[in-house]
Subunit: 365 residues, 2 copies
């Protein structure tokens, strides 16, 4: 959603905030929220967006208003911020051991019933202790790995062992199953799920939630019989990785880093005032550390902490950035980039609309 008055907007951003500055187009954000909900609706699963991408209660509330059932958090600190803003249906999609030991899991569970995930018995014991301290049983999903080799039990048998441990513990409720299927792994996930579902039935357990995840997996939505909801994060903003995955176009991307060319350093080089402390060293498997809208042939090939170094060798045909130019960088991986700042600047129709706190940024625990 590049608007014809982009040069004016750049000058306004630089004058009001300086550079680098992270800017989100609210028309695009709203369109992306609507599109994600429509995908879930069409597939007949509930939408439980992952707020790790934006870390903003305001955007989470917009997602809920658009029809989301609840939200997904990756850190207890994120859930604390969302709960403080009045959001009540929160799934924590990870093993929370550090947060349990600090007493914070128990403190939040006392306020409202959380859903948390586990893939091992140690985590379950920490959960039971925290739930008992909160005087409220904890709803637990078993995380299952069907090929990503991230977290998750590797077999239905292991999942059933954990399910039995949950069933035997008065402070734990069996709530369901969490999957993050590989893009091509949905048939294998179906096999895993069907076997596990049968075993659970033999234990007298029924999953209330069967969750799948990932923006790229929107392409597979509806292909797991038994799935009840989906959690996707990146789709609210999109980024260069989502374009590479075929899940977004340049126009679908809502966040850009406005940055100034502060030096040229030779005929074929340039330097941005955004480095690894702004754009991060996360390549997302792509070449270069971002896409410059105004100079698509310029390559951000290296970082210092506060500088992005441009290789301009391919730029002859399209012009060269000059010192003083403000350019817009589409980041490779927007989730880690948002996490670098306390605020995003909201724009709409070429005008600055306000400042949005990244309220849960830096919540490590």
């Amino acid at each position: 959603m590049s608007s014809p008055d982009e040069p004016t907007l750049k000058a306004k951003i630089a004058a009001q905030f300086g550079t680098p500055c992270m800017v989100i187009d609210m028309d695009r954000v709203e369109a992306n929220i609507t599109a994600a909900q429509a995908r879930c609706d069409a597939a007949g699963v509930a939408n439980r967006p992952h707020i790790k991408t934006h870390k903003s209660p305001l955007l989470a509330q917009m997602q809920l208003n658009a029809g989301a059932r609840g939200i997904t958090c990756q850190k207890l600190g994120e859930a604390e911020v969302m709960a403080a803003a009045g959001i009540t249906d929160i799934l924590l999609a990870t093993n929370l051991i550090g947060a349990a030991r600090s007493g914070r899991l128990s403190a939040l569970q006392r306020q409202l019933p959380l859903k948390a995930c586990a893939d091992n018995p140690v985590t379950l014991r920490e959960y039971a202790t925290a739930a008992q301290a909160a005087d409220r049983p904890l709803d637990v999903l078993i995380e299952c790995d069907t090929g990503q080799e991230r977290a998750g039990v590797a077999s239905p048998a292991e999942a059933l062992t954990l399910a039995a441990q949950i069933k035997a513990d008065p402070w734990l409720n069996f709530e369901g199953l969490l999957f993050y299927p590989p893009l091509s792994g949905w048939p294998a996930t179906q096999v895993f799920f069907d076997r596990l579902h049968q075993g659970l039935a033999e234990l007298g357990l029924q999953p209330n939630i069967v969750s799948t995840g990932g923006t790229p997996n929107f392409a597979n939505l509806g292909q797991l019989r038994g799935a009840t909801e989906h959690r996707a994060g990146t789709c609210i903003f999109n980024d260069r990785m989502m374009i590479a995955a075929g899940m977004a176009s340049l126009d679908d991307c809502a966040l850009h880093v406005y940055t100034t060319v502060v030096s040229r350093g030779g005929a074929r080089r340039g330097i941005l005032d955004a480095g690894s402390k702004t754009l991060t060293s996360d390549t997302g498997g792509l070449d270069g550390f971002g896409h410059i809208l105004e100079y698509p042939q310029a390559r951000i090939h290296k970082f210092a902490e506060e500088h992005g170094f441009l290789d301009l060798d391919a730029c002859t045909q399209t012009g060269m950035p000059a010192v003083g130019d403000v350019v817009r960088v589409l980041p490779n991986h927007v989730c880690v980039v948002v996490n670098m700042v306390d605020e995003l600047v909201m724009v709409r129709g070429g005008e600055i609309e306000g400042v949005l706190p990244v309220a849960a940024r830096g919540r490590l625990v």
Copy 2:
């Protein structure tokens, strides 16, 4: 400075703060501050530590108390935080265009006389405008590149053109020269400096400051005739990169990320609760994303945003981390890691001493 009661300290950290948690050993921090000052003293140059590593006014004040002449900042926002804490001798080691256009350079220059760097005429014009708005001429250093291919003019002739522009502008004072010589580039830097120095004399200009930079360049300190001061950042904490550069031992490293093994995910794998949003994807050119003190053979080979994935293939001889273990990770590049958090936990002699705000974190402009 691993202490015999480390297991107790780990349990205390987890109970009080949860994990992941960034912890600095204050005995080691103080020893590193003293050592850096001693290196500068021995070489006969002033010490102007770069605060980008710690972003803490308290630590900056400790460096000044130990004998530093002033401090170096990379962002105006860092200088704002340091100035608010009462620090007055501040060098900004970069072209500040975004900060100038936002009015913030002018606002701070009105409060106290800053030193800023430039390597091009556009930056100098922005500086003159900001200085005039502040009603106080700005002290400017010309940044010179002698082989790093980062910022800086590439020849004495270019530097002299900028010097003439500074001399002709009533709102700019020529203050000196900023170098970041490559490790093996000090002889070439001497040639550059000598030619430039002569040209400056012909313009009637004399540098008050001739600054060199970088912790690894401590090894070369004293080798540039005419140098007046040195700016080093990383040495206050040190990290895996500084060990690789031969500038520190494991015992010289003051900061560790305390993190919990939250899952194993198979016999040869493990998962930490610290991922790219904690340890960052900055490899620093090293293999793996950090060094685990307790399991040096474990390799942090991949990240999710909140998970570090361990390859435990080489661990047979030294034991395997178990789910629930708290381990200490020495980061590859400590400057970008500190920048992820609002607070560091200070310890001394195995006891928690307090919490240190990373006051200038996230100051992008």
